[in-house]
Every structure is written in C-alpha cells, then in structure tokens.
C-alpha cells in the first residue's frame, strides 16, 4: 500500500464525515436536533490481510460517531454508525469475483448476501423519531457475519 493511497482513503472516508459533521451540526443545533448516520464496515472492527487503509478509516469512523454522539446529545443530535455486511450492488458485481462473494455468503448466518434495501431500511429507521433514544451505537446489518465464532465458518450444512 502506498502512503498516497492511505491519505486518499482517509481523506474521503474519515475527513469527509468529519467535515460533514462540522458543517451540519451547527445547522442541526439551530433547528433543535438531527440524526447523523455514518456507514462503517465490519473491517472497522476486525482485521484482514487486505484493505488496511479502508479498515482503519472505518474504525476511525466508529470513534468519530461516538465522539459526535457524546458531544451533541444534549443538543438533540443523535449519531450512529451502520455496519453493512457484503451487499449485492452493481459495483460489487463489477469488482468482486463470484467465488469471493460466495466466501462471504458462507459465513452469513442468514444464507444470502445483503440487499441495498436491508441497509436503507435501517438508515431510514435511525433517521426517524422512532429511534430517538438510540445514539452512539454501531448497528450491524450483516446477516450475522460477525456474530459467530470463526470456527463456525464456512458454516457446515445442518
């Protein structure tokens, strides 16, 4: 990995959300509150042999989420992070070979990949008043990918 790649990934994935918080939080305070939802990743919490900049940026984003939640809860601002599992999107179909997709799927307790709607429904819930007591959390929408012992992966047939 080049230092340039590290800087570029951190600039988009971590400086970006920080700048968005920096400039939307004052508007939210003026309006009596708001909900910030950062999209993080399982790679922000678990190690891998590839994509260290991505994982580091997403781990940092979880910390940013908790710091924003801690600083502005009293202003009516909630800040949470959503960690999707592998989601089937056009970008994924273009970038990730099917055998690798199947490797992810074989570690999911719900035996399928995620859909964009799996994630969007959770984000819409967190943005709504129904989630008004939820802040500073990391919510996983990953089919149980990170909920089991590594020894259970790939999941044996029942």
């Amino acid at each position: 990995m080049s230092v340039e790649l590290w800087d570029q990934v951190l600039a988009v994935n971590l400086r970006g959300p920080m700048l968005l918080c920096r400039h939307t939080v004052p508007v939210m305070i003026e309006r009596g509150g708001g909900s910030i939802i950062n999209i993080t990743s399982g790679q922000g919490l678990s190690g891998d042999r590839v994509m260290v900049a991505y994982g580091s940026s997403k781990g940092g984003l979880i910390a940013l989420t908790r710091f924003v939640a801690a600083a502005y809860g009293a202003d009516g601002i909630r800040c949470n992070a959503v960690a999707p599992g592998l989601v089937r999107t056009p970008a994924l179909e273009a970038d990730m070979p099917v055998p690798v997709q199947q490797m992810f799927q074989s570690a999911n307790l719900i035996p399928r990949l995620g859909t964009p709607e799996d994630v969007s429904q959770l984000v819409a819930f967190l943005a709504s008043p129904a989630a008004s007591f939820i802040t500073g959390q990391v919510l996983f929408v990953d089919g149980g990918f990170l909920a089991h012992l590594p020894t259970l992966s790939p999941l044996p047939p029942r």
Partner: protein
C-alpha cells in the same frame, strides 16, 4: 442529505427516506451523476434534488450545506465508497 448518493446502497437509502416523507439531497462526487440519480427518483414524485460534493474538501462541503437546494439538515446520512 445522503452523500455517496448515486451508489447502489445510497440510492436505496435516498428512496427509503423520500418515501417516508423526507426532502432529500442526494450528493455525490460527480455533479451530473448526482443530478441524474436524483431526477430518476423525482420523476417518481419523490422530493429529491441532486448536488455534487467532494466530501474530502471543506469548501465543497460548505457549498453543499449552504446550497439553497438543501432544504434542511435535520437528518443526515452519508456513506463512502473509496477503498
């Protein structure tokens, strides 16, 4: 406000928020991509406007937040796609 808004997960998020009654700003790094994705949803009667933004650049983020097309910052979500 949904950044990365023209991506697969993000378009679904914009749609879910708009269907729930929110006025949504769909922001993405390419202005034309953001506007095209927003227009597709607006054509379905949803309240969505597109806006270009480079979230890594503070001046660009300021322009997005200050834009008259940004109706409210009451709720914000963003995702990032750089790997």
């Amino acid at each position: 406000m949904v950044t990365g808004g023209a991506g697969g997960i993000d378009v679904a998020t914009v749609e879910a928020l708009a269907v729930a009654g929110a006025q949504v700003v769909l922001a993405d790094v390419a202005d034309d991509t953001a506007k095209a994705a927003a227009e597709k949803l607006a054509a379905q009667g949803l309240s969505v406007v597109g806006h270009g933004v480079d979230i890594s650049a503070e001046a660009s983020v300021e322009r997005l937040v200050d834009s008259p097309s940004t109706p409210s910052a009451a709720s914000t979500s963003w995702t990032t796609t750089r790997r």
